[in-house]
Homo-oligomer: 145 residues x 2
DNA sequence: CGCACCAAGTTGTATTATGCAACCAGAAGA
DNA sequence: TCTTCTGGTTGCATAATACAACTTGGTGCG
């Protein structure tokens, strides 16, 4: 039955989330899971507004504000005033930010890879595809949950 | 290439993690994401030790202990002394716990299901199986990650 | 223009989850 | 018995977060 599968997916995803959070601290002392994710986001599309990030991650703007402050103090991101609208700050990765992000990514990927070492290539690809499909939907959609 | 699939899995899992975290609070006033997940776990296999839960979710035993305390005070779980080993408490859902869990499950499943609505049954099951496999490894294994 | 309202961010405050370390109680083995 | 191990609890500190009040800049309408 679909019910069971859905239930399992929901629970296992949650379990993963827990683990991801737990392991995040060991990746880089300076970089929490959220910070890391924010950096990753900025890497892909520089010049984001804090509000965009908040919306995207369903976080309060105050939370993002503080996270960004931390990242800025660590020298990993830069706030640039938007000349078009002086309320807005466009966030950009610094060189240091880019470097650190690359470092952490490598380490993170290694950790994941270790757990996937005995998977068949075909399964890996299917699993990856499923995850993309799942997340694509939640990312694009109505921004709830 | 394995690299690409691993990279994708890593990224997508992380993406999910942040969202799960973000949406955690809004399901049931009484039930945090973790509590809910713990309940779900107990439903499937009653008589778990707190330590088992801690290991599975990569949580500190103190955290689990407190969560269980909360759940117990809410009347949702029961601690039963293991007659074999008096250090151990076997955790069981109460009737109320079962009821609440069912309620929340419905709501939550609806949310997840909405995202999975156009998936083929076969894909759902495979996805679920992959997640289980992935998590099983990190849970049973070397406890790092 | 000037005033009312909206939007982006910041800061104060409280809550909650969490980990770590110290501790207690029961079990197991020498 | 004494030592060591394991399951669990509690004290303490920290980090992430939400919410609300506030500041500053933009927009629109009279």
């Amino acid at each position: 039955m679909t019910e069971a599968a859905v239930e399992t997916i929901q629970r296992e995803m949650t379990a993963f989330a827990r683990r991801a959070r737990a392991s995040a601290g060991r990746m880089h002392p300076e970089l929490s899971l959220v910070s890391y994710t924010l950096l990753g986001h900025l890497e892909e599309s520089g010049g984001l507004r804090a509000t965009d990030l908040a919306a995207h991650y369903a976080l309060d703007k105050s939370t993002v504000s503080r996270q960004v402050t931390t990242l800025e103090r660590a020298g990993l991101v830069e706030r640039r005033r938007d000349p078009e609208d002086h309320r807005v700050q466009l966030l950009h990765l610094t060189e240091a930010g880019r470097r650190i992000l690359a470092q952490v990514s490598v380490r993170r990927r290694a950790a994941v890879q270790e757990r996937l070492v005995d998977w068949a290539q075909e399964d890996l690809e299917r699993f990856a595809a499923y995850l993309v499909r799942y997340n694509a939907r939640s990312g694009a959609g109505t921004e709830d949950d």
